[in-house]
Point group: C2
Chain length 414, copies 2
């Protein structure tokens, strides 16, 4: 099946918003094995929208639109796009009831222009909207399919997943299943080296590697007649990759290194506290992003000044004077100091030059020391990073979480 | 002039990346007074790209492409799009020199396929690339213009601004100038009420209001024969809006409430320290996002546990027991405690329920207390917010910065 995505909205043509819907739908169609040949954006203009629909059906079997289903004069997608099929419009009773319920719940009067939203082409499939007022619609005629979705992503995404995705999956002879394996600390080329024979011999599943900000990712995609069969095809390859990558493979699916590491601490009941200089609160805020973290996260100290490092963490004046704030020695005293002050199992520290100013030939921008107190011992590590202030701080925090994860795993192996 | 944006790249059709280039170019063209009627995305496929160019020139005078100018087999934009004009290709000497220099600097050997990038249609304008290897090209023939830009935003944006923008501006009879006024704390409808007569009578400049996460924004856009003239047209309207909004108008242009408030502290040499519970390090990290903040930012304490609140900030056990950690009284003692411990002019605090768990009927999710020590006095404020954990934490932090900004301004007025 060939598809075309048609986003409708003048705000897209003015650059007021970015077309994330096209990306979302494209990704979903790729996973379903449906080829997307064009994405088009057109304004709220009847003539140009008609032209776009005609063009698209001239070269594709499936059009998916987003936007223009609302109650205002500008919302012309439904009327304009279905002209192609020449269908009669009727009111959908269930959609009307839901619409009335929506306004009643908000204690707002429903104005008459809202009724327009629940008029649908006869014989179409109505996709009821739990997150807004405008239902979506699927029209199928001969070998042409038109799927119309509302514009706001918080309405479009759940509606696509509930209705459009199973509708399209049922039309596909094959199903596609993907697994995403997340790998920390090793670069894409080393990752490829370790998997090169698997990659060279790939057919089904396919194996693709990507590099993200902090991590590398391996995506395995299998094509089969059923989900179970696809899972069976992926499993031996995934198992082999797990075996080869060991603890470099830190998680699977949609997660992050901070989420994984915090999950490990919560599972084990290990309490933690952090002391930060260059990361300035980012490390603490990654911990506290996690709901329920208060069970194990006791305290974070952003000791930006030397005075605060001495006062709060017991870093010695001599250490600061002899080695400077950005040093193994200070990272060590910070990690020890925060663990002792907060009486936690784990103490973490960061101190470095995040830039853009403050670098010297000996201690350039991007030089960071991180420290860890765990099981009565303190260790430190020197990092060198490139990029702007934000990137250096983010990479430092990710490195701290990964180091802690590896440390806990290594201790458990002993 | 009518324009069409044509992004070339299979990775866009697979949903691997989002088309931010189209948004950027659309916004720029809107500011130049050039209408964009379509944005199209097409893969690295010669036949479909040719078809897209033909379609686009059938309905527009200007096509701007992004992507597909690189050295690989897949990079076909230049050859395919210029077929429309039927021009001969020649090597551009300056681009060739720059390309050689680029590889020399990286100490890498230049492979022959790179030469393809410096072949340009005869008589075209070459846009030299300071941030990558592929130059961009402007081809003009009769009343049709084709502007080809590289795909990576870090190359596309500076190239557009250096070459394409002045090239297009010179073709426009009118120029457009915008000013963006940022307003904190008041909603869009109240903002419209305060400006309603100006909005109703707008012609030139136009006045548009938008609501963002934390703030509202007023955009004034004037159309004139020159920038100076446009600025003169905007000025009296902007002055009137400044007068009406007073301190609710917190800044102009591309900035944030934390940047503005931190700037005020640095200008005045006011030192600050923060103590956080529900925001968990986010407030400190917003301070430390600002380069040079170490001059005035002394310390941040993420006192997540009650124990840390007592130990670090001197919050009294009785206060915690009598009022609970989420209360005016604890916010007050936290703000006072951190200012005294760090010996700063300003002490800030946050304590609240960020959710998703932890809410009760008396203290629901979204209830937050913030505290401020300034000039020997402590005050507190109760906030109620809706949204998820992330949104509640972010809105709390923005509110703290805005409250501090308003407090400093009010003190100075006395």
């Amino acid at each position: 099946m060939k598809a075309e995505i048609l986003a409708v909205g003048t705000e897209l043509l003015l650059g007021d918003i970015v077309n994330t819907n096209a990306q979302y739908i494209s990704k979903k169609l790729a996973a379903l094995g449906i080829d997307v040949h064009f994405q088009t954006v057109v304004g709220d203009n009847e003539e140009r929208l008609s032209q776009a629909v005609k063009n698209a059906f001239g070269r594709a079997d499936l059009i998916i639109t987003s936007g223009g289903l609302g109650p205002t004069e500008d919302d012309i997608t439904k009327e304009t796009c279905t002209k192609y099929f020449g269908k009669k419009f009727v009111y959908d009773e269930k959609a009307l009831e839901m619409l009335k319920g929506f306004f009643a719940k908000l204690n707002r009067k429903m104005t008459d222009n809202n009724l327009k939203q629940v008029r649908v082409p006869e014989g179409s499939i109505v996709m009821y909207n739990k997150n807004g007022t405008a239902p979506g619609i699927i029209v199928e005629d001969g070998n042409k399919i038109l799927i119309m979705l509302p514009g706001p992503p918080r309405e479009l995404i759940p509606m696509f997943e509930e209705y459009a995705e199973p509708f399209l999956a049922a039309k596909q002879e094959y199903t596609f299943v993907s697994r995403v394996l997340r790998v920390s600390k090793i670069g894409e080329s080393e990752l490829e080296n370790r998997l090169i024979d698997l990659i060279d011999n790939q057919t089904n599943p396919t194996i693709a590697t990507y590099v993200k900000k902090f991590e590398a990712v391996v995506r395995l995609t299998a094509k089969a007649k059923s989900k179970d069969e696809a899972n069976d095809i992926i499993k031996p390859v995934a198992d082999e990759i797990y075996r080869r990558l060991g603890s470099d493979l830190y998680a699977e699916g949609d997660t992050t290194i901070s989420e994984v590491t915090c999950g490990m601490l919560m599972e084990r009941g290990l309490t933690a506290a952090v002391s930060e200089s260059c990361t300035g609160g980012l490390l603490a805020s990654r911990f506290t992003d996690i709901p329920g973290i208060s069970k194990i996260f006791v305290e974070g100290d952003v000791t930006y000044s030397n005075d605060a490092k001495m006062r709060r963490l017991g870093v010695k004046r001599e250490t600061l004077e002899k080695y400077g704030a950005v040093s193994h020695e200070v990272a060590e005293e910070m990690a020890y100091g925060i663990a002792k002050a907060a009486k936690t199992d784990i103490g973490l520290s960061t101190t470095g030059i995040a830039g853009p100013g403050g670098g010297t030939p000996e201690k350039p921008v991007g030089m960071v020391f991180i420290g860890m107190y765990y099981k009565g011992k303190v260790k430190t590590k020197e990092l060198h990073m490139v990029g702007n202030r934000e990137r250096i701080r983010e990479k430092t925090v990710d490195s701290v979480f990964d180091w802690l994860r590896r440390t806990i795993l290594a201790e458990e192996e002993v």
